[in-house]
């Protein structure tokens, strides 16, 4: 309790120092004291410690045992991860009674480091106060509170990644409980939909792809990320695991992030600086940055932290090639995959090999000279922070030292970067824009708000779920939405969240749930095991071992006699069917009806998801939300249009169960728009039903309204 008291006190401390700043002036000096005040002192951070993994021997009803760590409990399902990294997702009722009770205590234990309701309320109130002060100073006001209907739809989309079903919507709208909004936030933040939407959001940021280089499969990276998200792994730990990961993808899924750029290490460094620090050093890769202060030397000194790291073992690759050549009977495609999978691995040598480029043209270093690793700083005092005291003597430890600096609460941008991105996720716009260039904190629409969010992020120990809980409970988030502002004219001061087109994943997941119901929340794709079958035992590149791997791979990919993982037209990926844990997916109109996070990453380019703006994941933040004619064609006439206007649709069947026509219309309105129809709408819809349109047509009409595509 002392810790929480301290936190509350720091919140108050912030409020004293955070005088609203006058708009239009870029005054870094003024912002600095606030940031200093909010930096959490070392003591409470250390006291919190890391959440220990709970290893436990689980027993099911039939007496089978599994040693695994607890990852999460969502609805009727539990997620476990065994020591070899495999994830298990199944109905909790399959466990013995003792283990069901134990799982519940795990949930409580997992939650011990989270904020109390009082702290949530206080941190959320601080957001409202800081936003309010800036609005008042600019003669603006917060938008009116969102209606229950608006809030309901928004929170489902933001926290669970989809619209509510008719039942979920009517339950919430009918509730008279005064704290029903906070209750719903809590419920959704621990639903399996939460993990799914966080995965989508992070997959765009971290460039999660099924394959990298020349089609090397990276499924274990996806499984790893999903398990970490379900287990509520804090952002700093997640990032640190990715940056420092060693070995092959089969040994450690976290290697996927670094291996993505194994053949282009310099691009990789520039990418990770943007992703984790919001620092735009891309220009400095080739020359001194024309606008920012970064020199080409700064970039190389940062990149040198990865100068002893190597992602590709060419020797293993050629050894496999040689061995394979001696046996013509081996299937070519399979051996090529095995060769590539085993060639890519993260390893550190004892020598830092990066040198300044041959065409280096500045006086501060010499072309061809070895680079000495050094960390960048954004302002003068920062280099004296303890975290800047890194050991660069031991090249094989350079990556670890870098990760320690990168993910520390003392890092001048790490917490701010993720806090700003999480804010954008909730409001549609960062406090600092663009979110991939936050070098100048004075660019924030409110530096005080940015400082507060950074502080909350650190106090939450980088638990993104807790930070979102704070944001969602604020009056600012629960205000009605503003139209897209013209940022060319003025900064947006957050009178409320922005009206936004749903992300590609949100549109898809909402349509999936209207088609098959909440059952889709428990269809989980896990393909890491297929990949592990391809791994050769360490140091054993023999023909016999390669043959074993080919056999194992064949068995893993073909499962129980079903088709292999080949893509069917439009990327319906039927062949993935045996890669699913939990429930099995249904397919209709050549579409696999699973949520976006449980489909190929990214989906094939003609799939609905890509057409609606899912990124190609070649770069961070590649998703878009702009419109096009082909999107509309697919929604109206394509397989998705057919899916919506299908008699088997869950939303249509829910409506059909109602007796009265008015109740049927209302049910479909709740399914698609999370609200009841107005009297006028009810009249028009009922009339058209009487005139020969069916409920399936009404479903089609509602799915094609702009209201369905946008969140208010």
């Amino acid at each position: 309790m002392r810790r929480l008291a301290l936190f509350a006190c720091l919140c108050l401390g912030l409020s004293v120092h955070a005088a609203p700043k006058k708009e239009g002036k870029k005054d870094t000096k003024k912002a600095e004291p606030v940031i200093k005040v909010v930096a959490p002192p070392a003591a409470p951070v250390a006291a919190l410690g890391e959440r220990p993994a709970i290893w436990h021997a689980w027993t099911d009803k039939e007496g089978q045992k599994l040693e695994a760590r607890f990852c999460g409990l969502a609805g009727e399902y539990i997620t476990l991860q065994s020591r070899d990294g495999r994830t298990f997702h199944f109905k909790t009722e399959l466990l013995s009674a003792e283990d069901i009770a134990f799982a519940k205590t795990c949930v409580d234990r997992n939650r011990t480091s989270t904020f109390s309701p009082a702290v949530i309320a206080s941190a959320a109130a601080d957001i409202d106060r800081l936003v309010g002060a800036v609005l008042v100073a600019n003669k603006q006001t917060l938008n009116a509170p969102a209606t229950d209907e608006q809030f309901l739809r928004r929170i489902y989309l933001d926290a669970a990644g989809r619209v509510p079903t008719a039942l979920e919507a009517s339950t919430f709208l009918a509730s008279k409980a005064p704290d029903k909004r906070a209750k719903l936030i809590d419920e959704l933040l621990s639903s399996s939909g939460y993990t799914m939407q966080m995965f989508n959001w992070m997959a765009d940021l971290l460039r999660v792809k099924d394959t990298f280089a020349k089609a090397v499969p990276a499924f274990t990276f996806e499984d790893w990320l999903k398990a970490r998200l379900a287990a509520d792994t804090p952002w700093d730990k997640l990032v640190s695991e990715m940056i420092t990961a060693d070995g092959r993808l089969s040994d450690n899924g976290a290697t996927g992030f670094m291996l993505f750029d194994a053949e282009m290490p310099l691009d990789g460094v520039s990418n990770l600086m943007t992703t984790f620090l919001g620092t735009n050093m891309a220009c400095a890769q080739c020359h001194d940055h024309p606008l920012a202060e970064w020199k080409q030397r700064d970039f190389y000194q940062m990149a040198a932290f990865f100068g002893a790291t190597d992602g590709k073992d060419e020797a293993i690759g050629s050894a496999i090639k040689m061995a394979v050549r001696s046996d013509a009977s081996l299937p070519k495609a399979a051996t090529l995959k095995i060769e590539q999978m085993n060639t890519f691995r993260m390893e550190d040598s004892v020598k830092q090999k990066l040198t300044f480029p041959k065409d280096y043209k500045y006086k501060d270093a010499k072309a061809g000279d070895p680079v000495t690793p050094a960390l960048i700083a954004w302002s003068k005092g920062e280099k004296s922070l303890p975290v800047y005291n890194v050991n660069t003597k031991n090249p094989s430890q350079l990556r670890d030292e870098f990760a320690r600096w990168l993910t520390s609460p003392q890092n001048p941008r790490f917490a701010t970067n993720i806090a700003n991105r999480i804010w954008k996720k909730a409001f549609g716009l960062g406090v600092i824009e663009p979110v991939n260039d936050i070098d100048d904190l004075a660019e924030a629409s409110s530096p005080e708000l940015m400082a507060h969010l950074t502080f909350v992020m650190k106090a939450a120990k980088f638990d993104l779920r807790e930070v979102q809980r704070v944001i969602y409970n604020s009056k600012t988030y629960q205000a009605s939405a503003s139209a897209t502002p013209d940022l060319g004219k003025a900064k947006y001061l957050f009178n409320g969240p922005l009206v936004r087109r749903l992300s590609a994943e949100q549109v898809w997941d909402s349509l999936i749930v209207t088609a098959v119901g909440t059952y889709a929340d428990n269809v989980l794709l896990r393909r890491g095991d297929d990949l592990k079958a391809m791994a050769l035992p360490a140091g054993k590149v023999t023909l016999a071992e390669i043959k074993n791997a080919v056999d194992r791979t064949k068995a893993a990919f073909s499962g129980s006699g079903k088709a292999g993982p080949k893509k069917v037209g439009g990327g319906s990926t039927m062949g993935l069917a045996n890669g699913y844990d939990g429930d099995k997916p249904v397919s209709r109109f050549s579409l696999m009806l699973a949520r976006a996070s449980e489909l190929p990453q990214p989906s094939p380019e003609t799939h609905f998801l890509r057409l609606w703006g899912q990124g190609d994941r070649l770069l961070a933040d590649s998703a878009t939300n702009d419109g096009s004619v082909p999107q509309v064609l697919q929604m109206m006439n394509g397989s998705v249009g057919k899916l919506v206007a299908d008699v088997r649709s869950a939303a249509v069947m829910d409506a059909t169960k109602e007796k009265a026509p008015d109740a049927q219309v209302t049910s479909l309105y709740l399914s698609y728009l999370s609200r009841k129809p107005t009297a006028k709408e009810l009249g028009a819809a009922s009339q058209s039903l009487a005139d020969g349109l069916a409920l399936t047509d009404l479903a089609w009409v509602l799915a094609n309204t702009r209201e369905f595509l946008f969140v208010q």
């Binding site: 220009c283 041959k358 509309v632 709408e681 058209s688 005139d691 702009r706």
Partner: protein, 435 residues
Amino acid sequence: MSILPSANLLRHPEDRRSFIEKCAKVSFGLSVLPFFTRIAEAAETPGAAKAPNAGLPGFGKAKRVIFLQLNGGMSHIDTFDPKTGASKGPGSIVSAKGDMQLTSYLPQTAKISDRITVIRSMTAKVGVHASAAYLMRTGFEQRGTLQHPTLGAWAQHFLGSSHKTLPSSVTVNRSSNHGNGWFPAAYSPLPILNPADGLLDTKSPVSEATVAKRAGLLAQLDSSFGGKATDESVKSYNEFYESTFQLMKSTDLKAFDLAAESAETKARYGKSKFGQGCLLARRLVENGVRFVEVAIGGWDMHATLDDRMEEVGGDFDRVYATLIQDLESKGLLDTTLVVVASEFGRKPSFEGGGRGHHPLVFSTVLAGGGVKRGFVFGASDEKGYAPKENGVSPGSLHATIAHAAGLPVQTDIITPAGRPMQVGNKAAPQTGVFA
């Protein structure tokens, strides 16, 4: 509403914007908006009705543009700007038609090189894929939150729609990514992600009577949200829905259908995404689409450059030569400008089996649309490291294409946010490339 807005209205971006919005109701179906904006332009800057570049060589010769974007960074030294000495790549140097040298990776292009102009002195500063590709595609460096339009949108702004129902610009093999920039969303290029599929889902699976009833009910039920929208992005979706309903009724849809081509033509273009994309591009420009971009990846040759040039470069070579010959035989080459662009070149020195990114000097290629035949413009130095003469920025390349397409260059337009902007970012066109 009076047809001609008052000059006062046009001088105030705020008022002008709402005026434009009123006109912008429908997208590529109607061309009222660009027409009015042209009047607006004329009213704003006296004398601008006539483009300042109208009297220069090559103006307006290109009625349509095919822009081939080779993603990853085409090595200039291994393609259109071969070098001897330390910079030399694995391919040999061959003398091609039109008195220019190419590498042995481009045997088919060598046969039609008497129809092309190679610019060997492109120069830029951005060596990162996404930002450099943005620069090549828009002529502007990527900055903050401002989104710059592609040439197709600029052309639609100045010249109006190129066709009654077909879109004025199309991107093949990539999404449109806000290609309209600050212009109305309806100027956004129509994306075709897989050229072999063409435009999918143009027919409703239900009867026409049901489609009509559904559309009627849709208009009624969306009137409170979509109908009254003040939000720009909601309004843009209203426009996309309207465009779609129009397009579905149109017979011009056949422009998207590669199946209508003869087996012989299909075979010449080949089955690669680039081949199919170029064939689709030819069909589209033939049918009235003004600007088509075809994107193709695979050019980021950090390793095994020799193999990749054989594979990726070989496909490019065959398809590109086919496209030029096909346009010529249809009598379209003189009025169609074909641009080969890549976000940057590659270093003279080898690192491993490939070359690193190199924006300081690289090559682009123009053909048709009034450009000289068998001509080399500008030069790189001996190593292929820096421009030796006539450096051409991406902005200047855009001004050159815009000039060929008959757009006024070095002429301000005012964005909705009130900023003055020019196609090609103030750069002058390279009139030396025109015949």
